[in-house]
């Protein structure tokens, strides 16, 4: 249907529901990324005009120029005093709350001279001289000479000092991100979802939103990073068959966000798309910077070994300008090395021109050596993961899926290390499902922004015509607290189909086949429908009991299977005592019988029929179960609400 063109109207174009022009911004402390929706409406991470998908959060002032992004990072070598990095974490904080004791490699944080207790940066810039007056156009008096029509030449720019508050820097940076997105889309951006870390306070969120609004972004939502990651994974349009089959809609997901400046862990419970966090943890000592430090130490040692020039880095001695500069150069160079290690299994090189005393350096490191160097970081992450999971009262065995976020999490060594600390063998990680390579859905560097844009698309489609629709929209942004507080089940509920235990077999703790319906940590109200085949007994009846169960993990120690060498060749030196292997099993034990029902099967064929069971749990804990053969009569079962 043709839309009538209004000649004199200035009505805004209606939002195209399939493809609204919204962006998702992952605004990290060190790097940011932007995602938009492609023609199919799927999220795509875009590169900025430098061709960078990972845009460094840095702003540098050099003379009359401002460098933003990765160009600004290069300024850290020679122009560190005028280069601002790591400003996101300072957003919304008072100057007195900021720890300024640590030495920095970039512009130091100072107190704003005019605004009290505000963090700011002081940079030296060249201020362009004011433009000359426009040439006079007035007609002159008769005897006075005509004013020259040639513009007065511009005078030289004058050096000046500029004080920038943290939010001003953020505004400059977000403006440049927005510009990149608009250049890519060719359209004005209608709204954006920006990710924030879980530990951001409401003041920090407000400061970020204000800065973004100042930059001309209409913020649809500030989305928790873990949520963005989960949304990106859940909304995956091209999920390979292997991941969809092994993962149901109900799962426990561990989000490992190893950025360059911090590690953030979140344990999420995803129940049919509803996400809530079981536990979070963040550690600012682990991250890409720690890996960098280890690497540059390694390369500096190599350099010294090769050239006999002493070089001390990480930290460089305060009195040696040369070493400091060499460290800055190495830091820039190892970025490339890290990316090579992530992408390929071969050796990665690191080359720096004129590292110290005019000597160039080129060295290489292979994956093994790399993993050895940064093992401490991996181990630190592993320890934190264990702490987190146990703090949620779960076992590593309960985690169904790991999602990696952040540049440093792209390192395959991390995944290998985590796989060895006691997770299930069939745990799904982006590496195991092969979605990391080639900018796949599991790509840790772009995951957050892609999740943010998926969320933005969802929000852009919301109407605002009625009071209730406004309320729904507000549930994402202003009035979060009204809606996010929910009640969840503390124990799993499911069906037990009693069976005759075979002679000699160990008695099953449940006395039958267990079919889980509602797992623990499921948000109420909830509804689940399952369908399965069931064998019908002699009398043509199907009976089941509704149970609430306890789950636990049983750890048994087993002897590893011994290799039986053939031909009787005697084994030689490796006669060490082999360690017992921990074998974990999920144990389900009955807790409370909630009810039972008997169903007459009328449609059984070959003693088999298909049963459909629906369970509804209301917010007050009232349970309704209805079971029927497909298309047949229903048998219902009710459990009174809690406290009734």
């Amino acid at each position: 249907m043709a839309v009538s063109n209004q000649q004199n109207g200035s009505a805004e174009a209606p939002i195209d529901l399939a493809n609204p022009t919204v962006v998702g911004i992952n605004f990290g402390n060190s790097y940011a990324s932007i995602s938009v929706l492609n023609k199919q409406g799927n999220p795509d991470c875009i590169a900025n005009e430098d061709g960078e998908r990972q845009i460094a959060c840095a702003v540098s002032f050099h003379g009359e120029e401002i460098y933003i992004g990765n160009q600004a990072k290069h300024q850290l070598v020679k122009n560190a005093q005028n280069t601002i990095t790591g400003f996101r974490n300072l957003l919304g904080k008072k100057f007195s709350q900021i720890d300024t004791s640590k030495p920095t490699t970039s512009a130091p944080v100072i107190e704003h001279p005019e605004q009290p207790d505000t963090a700011a940066y002081k940079v030296q810039i060249l201020q362009s001289a004011p433009l000359p007056l426009p040439a006079s156009t007035t007609t002159t008096q008769q005897n006075t000479p005509l004013a020259s029509r040639v513009a007065t030449p511009r005078s030289e720019p004058t050096p000046a000092t500029r004080i920038l508050s943290v939010s001003e820097v953020t505004t400059i940076f977000i403006k440049s991100l927005l510009q990149s997105a608009e250049d890519f889309l060719g359209k004005k951006v209608q709204g954006a979802v920006i990710t924030v870390p879980a530990w951001f306070t409401s003041e920090q969120k407000k400061a970020l939103e204000d800065a973004a609004t100042e930059a001309g972004v209409s913020v649809l939502q500030l989305l928790e990073e873990a949520g963005a990651a989960a949304v990106a994974v859940l909304s995956n349009p091209t999920a390979p068959a292997s991941t969809t089959t092994s993962l149901s809609g109900d799962r426990t997901q561990l989000v490992v966000d190893l950025g360059s400046s911090a590690l953030a862990l979140s344990l999420l419970s995803i129940r049919q798309g509803l996400i809530h966090s079981l536990a979070t943890l963040s550690d600012h000592t682990l991250g890409g910077d720690a890996i960098d430090s280890k690497l540059i130490k390694f390369f500096a040692k190599e350099f010294t070994k090769k050239t006999k020039i002493p070089l001390t880095v990480a930290p460089a001695p305060a009195d040696s300008k040369q070493d400091q500069r060499a460290e800055a150069k190495l830091r820039l160079a190892v970025e490339h090395t890290k990316r090579t290690v992530s992408a390929s299994s071969g050796a990665a090189t690191c080359s720096v021109e004129s590292l110290k005393d005019g000597i160039d350096y080129t060295g290489s490191i292979n994956r093994m050596r790399f993993d050895m160097e940064v093992r401490n970081v991996y181990a630190g992450v592993g320890e934190q993961v264990k702490t987190l999971v146990s703090s949620a009262g779960l076992d590593l065995f309960d985690v169904d899926e790991i999602v990696y976020v952040g540049g440093s999490a792209s390192l395959p060594g991390l995944d290998e290390h985590l796989a060895g600390i006691g997770f299930r063998e069939d745990i799904v990680t982006p590496f195991s499902s092969g979605s990391v390579v080639g900018g796949g859905v599991g790509d840790p560097t772009t995951l957050l922004s892609r999740g943010a844009v998926v969320q933005a698309k969802l929000l852009a489609g919301l109407g605002e015509s009625s009071e209730e629709e406004k309320e729904v929209k507000a549930a994402f942004h202003e009035k979060l607290e009204n809606w996010t507080g929910v009640k969840v089940t503390s124990k799993s509920i499911g069906l037990v189909f009693p069976e005759t235990s075979a002679e000699g077999q160990e008695e099953n703790a449940l006395g039958g086949q267990w079919i889980p319906l509602v797992l623990r940590e499921t948000v109420l109200p909830c509804r689940r429908t399952v369908r399965f085949g069931v064998e019908v007994g002699e009398e043509g009846k199907v009976g089941f009991e509704l149970w609430q169960v306890d789950e636990s993990i049983k750890i048994t120690l087993e002897k590893p299977p011994k290799f039986e060498p053939e031909d009787g060749e005697p084994e030689e030196e490796d006669e060490e005592e082999e360690e017992d292997i921990e074998v974990k099993d999920r144990i389900i034990s009955k807790d409370e019988l909630l009810g039972a029902a008997l169903l007459e099967s009328k449609k059984a064929r070959n003693k088999k029929t298909t049963l459909e069971v629906q369970i509804l749990i209301a917010e007050d804990g009232k349970v309704d179960v209805s079971a029927s053969e497909v298309g047949g009569e229903k048998v219902t079962l009710a459990v009174p609400p809690i406290g009734a």
Partner: protein
């Protein structure tokens, strides 16, 4: 829709001694407070249910309605571009194996998939049909396909068809000799067919109606009065025949011209061909005019409406007459006398004639009697002489 999880587990048959245990009346374990992460469509659904205070079933219904509304609004997956109902005609084997060198013989409408529209196709439709065909048959699309790699014959046909149909002059030339209609032209119903039909009346309109509809496209004057129906008035019928006897057609036959042999430089040759073409065109045009005339003649001859109108006119006349005789009482005596006089005169004349005839007959009889007497006397004489 409620999401149904299919499970692959198959519980074994019921234990024979199992009876449903007594309901314990217990509730589920106490609930735990958690904080949702406001993300994803599931959260949206959750909030919607809470805000609108809907149950799961009501929400399902709502979502379904919303989906349908959006589908109707934006079309199902299409970008809402209207193709004006062209471009999905089947392509037969014959059509695809057309030779672009023989483009004059191809049916351009069929090539573009417009054979259901033909001369009725608008420029916009032709454009869309062409775009669709090109998208499908462009040689670039076939580059990777196994088999003949350089098969762009049909694509050339498409381009040729487009070339002809987008130029209004050339399109008319082609329309003039459209092979589809030429074959139909021979199928004009004959007199015999109409007369032998069960219901000649309706057969006439059924068979001649489309013929005139077809011919109407050539008229310079539009709209063209069409055959109409049995109950049309005299004026309409007369208007129809008036128009068609003065039919002004734009039909021309340049399309069938023999091409001047490009290779030959001979001017004479060229002129000869041109002359021949010209005369051929004129001949065909004359034939066509004659054909239309013949058709109209035939129609007029068979038109049941003409008979009906004549009949009606006659009836009208008679009714008029009857009306006159029925109301003769008031006619003047003079007229009556005149009429009687006329009658008398006529009668006198009749009498006179009758008398005349009688006299002549008497005369004849007299002569015959005299003749007979003569004969008798002669015979007596002859008898006496013999004796």
């Amino acid at each position: 829709m409620a999401h149904i999880v299919e499970l692959s587990v198959v519980p074994p048959p019921l234990r024979s001694d199992w009876t449903p245990p007594q309901s314990t009346g217990k509730s589920i374990a106490p609930l735990v407070e958690r904080r949702l992460i406001p993300a994803g469509s599931a959260y949206l659904a959750h909030v919607k249910r809470a805000v609108h205070n809907l149950s799961f079933e009501e929400h399902d219904k709502h979502a379904e309605e919303e989906r349908k509304r959006l589908e109707a609004l934006y079309g199902n997956g299409t970008n809402g571009e209207d193709d004006l109902g062209v471009g999905d005609e089947e392509e037969t084997e014959d059509l695809l194996s057309l030779d672009p060198k023989e483009w004059k013989k191809q049916d351009h409408y069929a090539v573009l998939g417009l054979s259901h529209l033909r001369y009725r196709a608008t420029d916009e439709q032709i454009k869309i049909a062409h775009r669709k065909k090109v998208l499908k048959h462009h040689p670039d699309k076939k580059a990777g396909v196994a088999g003949e790699t350089n098969d762009d014959a049909f694509f050339k046909c498409i381009q040729k068809a487009m070339e002809v149909l987008t130029n209004s002059e050339r399109r008319r030339q082609f329309d003039s000799v459209d092979p589809h209609y030429e074959s139909l032209e021979d199928e004009v119903p004959t007199e015999k067919e109409v007369k032998s039909a069960k219901d000649p009346n309706s057969y006439f309109f059924k068979s001649f109606g489309p013929v005139f509809e077809r011919e109407a496209r050539f008229s310079k004057k539009q709209p063209v009065p069409l055959l109409g129906e049995y109950n049309d008035g005299k004026e309409q019928v007369e208007g129809f025949y008036d128009f068609w006897y003065n039919f002004d057609s734009w039909r021309s036959f340049e399309y069938l011209d023999k091409e001047v042999n490009e290779g030959s430089d001979s001017r004479d040759d060229k002129r000869y061909t041109e002359k021949k073409n010209k005369s051929e065109r004129a001949r065909r045009k004359k034939e066509d005019t004659a054909r239309v005339r013949q058709l109209v003649d035939l129609t007029l001859g068979l038109d049941p409406r003409i008979k009906r109108i004549k009949q009606e006119e006659k009836e009208a006349r008679e009714a008029k007459k009857k009306g006159k005789t029925g109301g003769a009482n008031g006619v003047s005596a003079k007229q009556k006398a005149e009429e009687e006089k006329k009658k008398a005169e006529e009668e006198a004349k009749k009498k006179e004639e009758e008398e005349k005839v009688a006299r002549a007959e008497a005369k004849k009889a007299k002569a015959a009697a005299a003749n007979a007497a003569k004969k008798a006397r002669r015979a007596a004489r002859a008898d006496g002489a013999d004796a």
